[in-house]
């Protein structure tokens, strides 16, 4: 076949021989699988010790009670035998029986007199005498999903996402008077900021991926999230540019793309903050909130960078700020009330893909400008300055 004996006309014809040839490998595959499943194919496939895995989904603490939701991440069913908390075998109940089918979850309930601010180590023994350890680094009552906590997480999202982005937008009138070189610098600065944010988001995604069940293939999930988001946004942009009437509306489209990219990044950020706050891993001190505001103010700057030479109108600016900042609120809600490690990985991957697609768009815009007048040092210093800005402001947060 490889010798090019097939002509285009032959290729279109279908007959039984071809159908059989097409289906044959699948049939043989089925037979091979059958042979393996029934005989083991001459290999000793029985493992000497059972392979089990149990991962934590979420932990809820209420006065006198600890609830930990765990997922069976192993290849077989897993049965919980005993639960030990801080070196004491403790009576427990489960939400759906002690046996957890593959990839399913169960919630372990302990009536345990925990104390505020202390650390707890929970060990779950399976019936195969395999211990799984989970940790409550700092015990405090898990916020309930009531109006008050919704409001407080909304405020967190507002402070770390919405307010900084809008603050950045306020620069718009002042920056409109910049010359071409300064504009390019600003675009490069934005690109630098986004490269840094993208790395940050990706690192967070990879870190989270290690905590999710192996069967969910965290790294693969990141790949799917990043690549599909990148390509999807690229396709949308191309379509918009194709239908755009002028260069002005093209640039406005780009501003919207940047807002979406930053918004998706902020969704991931909100998610991480909500989840971390929930398990007491971070205390949102005033200093930390200030740090977030300073860092995220640059995001607002990035959104308006492509449209500085235009007059997009206050309505567009308001929408741009909302798209860029508000997902932080949504993210903190999800992170606080329904944290799912797997979902978090996917969101973070989407954020990464979106941010890098925007970098790609900005690069195209810069190239358009530098085509008329080469200014390599402006681009270099802009990108490096953007990355450094985030690194330095990051010192306040991390």
């Amino acid at each position: 076949m490889a010798e090019g004996t097939i002509t285009p006309t032959e290729e279109k014809k279908w007959n039984w021989t071809r159908l059989v040839l097409l289906v044959l490998p699948i049939i043989i595959l089925g037979v091979v699988i059958m042979v393996f499943l029934t005989t083991g194919g001459g290999l000793n496939l029985a493992s000497p010790a059972p392979v089990e895995a149990l991962t934590e989904e979420r932990t809820i603490l209420q006065p006198g009670e600890i609830e930990i939701t765990v997922r069976n991440a192993g290849p077989e069913d897993l049965t919980i035998a005993q639960v030990i908390i801080n070196d004491a075998v403790w009576p427990y109940t489960t939400s759906s029986g002690a046996t957890i089918p593959r990839l399913r979850t169960t919630t372990i309930h302990l009536a345990y007199p925990w104390a505020y601010g202390e650390a707890y180590a929970i060990r779950v023994f399976s019936t195969n005498a395999i211990p799984f350890d989970f940790e409550i680094p700092v015990a405090f009552e898990t916020p309930k999903a009531d109006a008050k906590t919704f409001l407080s997480f909304t405020l967190i999202g507002l402070y770390v996402g919405v307010i900084p982005v809008y603050l950045g937008l306020i620069w718009f009138p002042a920056l409109r008077w910049l010359g071409r070189r300064s504009m390019v610098f600003l675009l490069a600065l934005t690109a630098g900021i986004l490269v840094f944010l993208g790395l940050d988001t990706l690192a967070e995604a990879i870190e989270q991926a290690s905590a999710i069940p192996g069967a969910f293939q965290g790294i693969g999930l990141i790949g799917i999230g990043v690549v599909s988001t990148f390509l999807l946004l690229d396709a949308i942009t191309k379509q918009q540019i194709a239908t755009a009437r002028s260069e002005v509306s093209q640039r406005l489209s780009l501003a919207y793309m940047i807002a979406i990219g930053i918004g998706l990044h902020n969704l991931g950020e909100g998610l991480a903050i909500g989840a971390a706050y929930n398990v007491g891993e971070i205390a949102l001190g005033a200093f930390l909130v200030v740090g977030f505001i300073i860092q995220n103010i640059t995001e607002g700057l990035g959104i308006i960078a492509p449209v500085l030479r235009d007059r997009p109108g206050i309505r567009h600016l308001a929408i741009l700020g909302f798209i860029g900042g508000a997902p932080a609120i949504l993210g903190s809600w999800i992170g606080a009330f329904s944290p799912s490690p797997t979902l978090a990985v996917l969101f973070l991957a989407i954020g990464t893909g979106a941010v890098y697609e925007v970098v790609y768009e900005i690069a195209k815009l810069i190239r358009k400008d530098t085509a008329r007048e080469a200014m390599p040092l402006t681009v270099f210093s802009g990108i490096v300055a953007g990355m450094l800005v985030l690194w330095v402001t990051g010192l306040l947060i991390k």
């Binding site: 919980i80 035998a81 004491a88 075998v89 009576p91 002690a98 023994f125 005498a129």
Partner: protein, 339 residues
Amino acid sequence: MKQNLSRRDFLRAGALTLLGTAGVATITKVAGQAKASPLHQMGHGEDAMAMAVGEVDHQRNGFNPSEILTDFDYGMVSTLENGQTLREYVITAINKDIEVVPGIVFPAWVYNGRLPGPTIRCKEGDRIRIRFLNGSAHPHSMHFHGIHTAEMDGVPGTPGMIDPGESFTYEFDAEPFGLHLYHCHAAPLARHIAKGLYGAFIIDPNGGRPAVDQEFVMVMSGLDVDFDDENDFYAVNGIPFHYQLHPIQIGVGEKVRIYLVNILEFDLINSFHLHANFFNYYPTGTSLTPAEYTDNIMQTQAQRGILEFSYKYPGLYMFHAHNTEFAELGWTGFFEVVA
């Protein structure tokens, strides 16, 4: 007995709740009843207390710690030509899967299928003849604490170290009187002990000890179920929490004697604390005069001693290791003192 009933209900309801079959309402109700009972000690606030969920299958295990408590093996008795009493025993070492904690099966190595092995009991000066069969997949031995010849010591390099499928007869005179123990001395020693090859060895003095109403044997040990050379659970007589689930019954004023042996591997010491009471303690049982009047003693591995006490008031009284970590990982029990 009404009080007794409420206590039983409390324990049973506890076990059921652990199994996830009883609702919150049940336990609140029963805990309420229990509080009204003078037998109930833990009625402060919630009845939160360390405990395993469910109960092991004693039938399938082939032994029950409640029976091991009073199971003294005097052997097959005859008299030698010189007038000496001969006690003959047959002890087999086997590999055996034992459900040590509900749901967790431990691939143990045991003497005569039980954990701990049989309590060998004899009198000072008796001739002891033990036919030892190794039905296990590994070399094993019986190393007795006592006075005997080097050939009978059951350590590597002596005829008493037995390969799988082989057998040997240990023979010696029982001395000195006291509470001793035996265990496998094959290498690696820590693993062979941790896997369950141990038992108590009691030599009564000539003329016996003063009469008591009840005698119990308690062998303290640990269970390393995941083989990381750290104990995951602790127990007396093999099964963690057994006497918490099934309190040991004694009567008010009854004289009680406990033969307490520590064979705990991996941890440095073990201890025994008796609630709301004091006991006379006879270290190694080699004297008839108590060395101490206390409510808490400590033993390192292979240390042992005899405790004597009686309860003045009826009620449910805890006894446990005062290494509280061990206590909450299974080494806790109750005496139920009835009027």
